[in-house]
Subunit: 318 residues, 4 copies
């Protein structure tokens, strides 16, 4: 397998000069979350987000800095410096992580090829070396769109899932992990999960921190218990307001959703996260990594049969 990097360009336009509001939540702070301190202090998101493996943090952080320096000649001269967002998961179960095979050029290539539209899931980019509940995992996405009575907002989740022990895996509540005890990886290492939540609802940083927490509740529905060795970090951002880099006027005019209307967004973030974890597993294929370590894909047929058995046609609902 090839380890890799995944980059997210959070919105169209010049993000550095026209920033987004953002928040985050650390469920278990194992590992690195470069840029998170600044995101939480400022409540803004102003750079691309990169996901990679644990020992490539430095390389990828430098590459993002270099990319920004190339675009903004004023940075570090007449303009501020930056603290880009780089998150990691440990892919050493499959990847020769010590080899540090992610190079700056991979980051530049990923930035260049980033596009809107459907997201490739599974063992792609930073997802290449991931294990999810001891099956093959990686990048997963899902979204929810609220009905017009709830504002019609969309909540999208992109995550890199590298966490969990097999026995606790639940799919739509079904204790799938208990029923699929074979197909275990040759080598296991506690991993992490990085969750990025995006919404067009006009939330400010405090609310986006709250939204990030709800992503973790969706994660818990899949059976996660945030092991000591797992770095479980979520960030959330909103595309509704753009914050000028150096505003002409001191006072900004913002749209902000009232907290009294936020519950459907909370539920959407939890639901989309639960589904995105499953999607990461469904998209991934059995992978042979370093030292011949094989990590199996979640077997679709057996999953289907289990779900079918556990999920009868509803009979009692009104």
């Amino acid at each position: 397998m090839r380890t890799g990097v995944t980059v997210i360009i959070p919105a169209a336009g010049d993000l550095w000069r026209s920033k987004l509001m953002a928040g985050g939540f650390v469920l278990n702070g194992n590992g690195e979350a470069a840029g998170l301190m600044w995101l939480l202090e400022s409540g803004i998101l102003e750079t691309p987000i990169a996901l990679t493996n644990t020992l490539s943090i430095g390389t990828v952080q430098k590459a993002l800095v270099d990319w920004m320096l190339g675009r903004y000649p004023g940075i570090g001269v007449t303009d501020d410096t930056l603290a880009p967002l780089v998150f990691e998961c440990d892919d050493s179960g499959l990847n020769d992580i010590r080899g540090q095979h992610v190079k700056g050029r991979h980051v530049f290539a990923a930035l260049k090829s980033a596009s809107s539209g459907p997201v490739a899931e599974g063992a792609v980019g930073a997802g290449a070396g991931m294990m999810t509940y001891e099956f093959k995992g990686g990048i997963g996405t899902a979204s929810r769109r609220l009905g017009p009575e709830n504002g019609g907002w969309t909540v999208g989740v992109l995550l890199n899932a590298n966490h969990g022990r097999r026995p606790t895996l639940r799919v739509k509540g079904v204790p799938v992990g208990e029923q699929l005890r074979d197909l275990m990886p040759g080598k296991f290492r506690d991993g992490s999960i990085v969750i990025v939540v995006a919404t067009d609802a006009p939330l400010e940083s405090r609310q986006l921190c709250r939204l990030a927490r709800r992503a973790m509740l969706g994660l818990a529905r899949t059976g996660a218990v945030a092991m000591h060795g797992s770095g479980d970090v979520a960030i959330a951002f909103s595309t509704a307001n753009r914050i000028p880099h150096y505003p002409k006027k001191p006072t900004l005019r913002l749209k902000v959703l009232s907290d009294f209307f936020i519950d459907p967004l909370f539920e959407a973030a939890a639901e989309a996260t639960e589904e995105a974890v499953l999607n990461a597993m469904l998209a991934a294929k059995t992978t042979v990594g370093r030292d011949g370590n094989t990590v199996h894909a979640l077997p679709h047929d057996r999953l289907k049969s289990l779900l079918a058995r556990y999920m009868p046609v509803p009979q009692e609902a009104p």
Copy 2:
């Protein structure tokens, strides 16, 4: 129904002079959690814990203070003052909460009658007016004992469950709430959940904060999404070390579990919380409250039949 108060005396002996280590976590900080700031700063638990309704916080806090003043004549003269722990849920769906029917004498009576042994569950004490996923709820408990290979520690949970919307309720993963759409309460109000986790594992405050977080992951498995109107607070304490009030020597000798052995405790806290929520509902009986508002008990027979249908005899497990 009668609103009420529940008190927890966390350990035998003189807790004020021989304190416990403690931690906590606020998933959603709606409502009041008296004493929590001090618990988090000091990492200790030194008073009984009281649970009551939202508008009785002042009365119950004063009663705990009075009780402590009665026992410790030095407090406020030669000894420190105190900040006792009082948590609340809003029981206004069933209770005439404006009437503030909880009096200091109820707190004293509860303290006097507190005993070790089995805990009454359901609509007792502070649980009287609770709704859980729009069924009748209240006090629930559950525990897990680790195998000897994991230290043989016990994790016990006592909670007061007053949270959740019906459609999201899951019981052992089964989407029970979607299947039980009748038996709705006449009046609903977003509520809260207070979770107290106890263990004999030798954890210190940082670790107990982590344990409290995992209780919330167990809560999430039941379908909770921590609504805006819900105050979701967990504390955790360990009975393993006793911290002297005024130590004779500056340096204490403590036993502390290595983080590398903490995962089974995390899983136990999540599991016990998930089960305690269910136990709260199973123990509660249909209740008619103020203005004739009826809150139904989770119907045991229909729950059983749903679980039976959704949980076939395992066929595939080895």
Copy 3:
């Protein structure tokens, strides 16, 4: 002396139905800060703020609840419940704190007599039993108004100062405490400080948390080191935006200051806090409390003479 209560009504109008944005910061979480958890989660301030002594928290909290129930018949029936803000300092050095002499009627009287205009400082209300650097202290206020080039905003501070050991006291940087080693209180107890920062600058909750932190930096300039036994808590609120209780439309339109213009407010909060601590001491008079314990006022003449000696006419400034 008479112990007491001080209430702050943060703004004109119906605060419950038209709330303020707010934030806070706990430098050292000894003692109680009722309502703070909710303020931090919601980012709003919706009730009066009360300051009192440590063992009167319950009484005063209940009184604020009662006052709100009287004004809002819907609370706890058709409307939400509440978690009012009550902060405390330990006045047991001067006050028979075990007697719990603060009654609900004192809170009602304070609420009734609250008015805009100059604030009485020193040993008034909750300030009655305070010691500040082992001199008599209590309520202090100060404010700063920014120049028009910085927006012309005002930052006001009201605090209740009950903290500090004599040797570390600095007044305008002058090591006054080292020079005034006599006039010591008969009995000393580590105390706390509660700081309330108000501004008309349009700050949101994240920014107001930041402002509250800067109040603590001003406190540090007076020599405070946030002793273990000291509860050092600051909240901050802005009068610029009013947040409707149940908004008609989900999306609010807010004015928010850009972070790039916030530094003068930070400096103002630090300066006003530093000055308010001094003002609390200057306004207080020598007080004899329980058991004949005498706490001396900071002697104005000796302070003046010290400052004069340490603060020569500037000679070098351009």
Copy 4:
């Protein structure tokens, strides 16, 4: 000038296999603090600490990772991965920061030449490009040793000072900044301060977080108000307990100081930080940086004369 890197090896012996307890505090989270999330979650310190400039974070983080990989062949194979501590200040006022002149070999050289004994102060290593209150600053250190009645513990501070506007500078309380308005730098940029506190007192992570907060109170005494553009981060560690990497027994035996004896350490951390800021300035020499930007040293003679004028021989102390 040459920008650079400063490394701190926190204790003798094999830190990775025999870790230290640690804590931290973020006063203002501008910039990057790699490794801090993990330090706060785990309460341990297990790698060297590096200080550098803002745009060299990636390079230096990678270098620390490489250095650790070289020493520990098991990392990323049979052993955990790591998240080393790298903090930064923006030296773009003096340094061609876009040039990223810090290379991995500089980190390795710094690690190789690290030794115990006196620490070079001022414009050395990461201190090369620092400005402190618009004078030349950089690395500063100071320490306090408690008397035997307070345990005889030592608190040492090493910091990299790059913060502050001239007018607010106070030296030992004297408003030096107001009196020294000339000698301004050609170019100014809001900077940061990174503070590392070390002690041999047996503190655990919660207490070390508290100690880190007190360092910030000492910083405030020098006039700092933690500007929006300033990243003000402190960490603290204790050399008293060593935590085994993979302990043989699950339960560790730790010595921990009782909180009731912690105040002298708090005062020591504040005092040492205040002094270390001054030492950084006193050791630094006038420096000409990029584009001919000159940053002046704090003029010793004028400082002495100001202090002499403001600090008369005490006359009133007993």
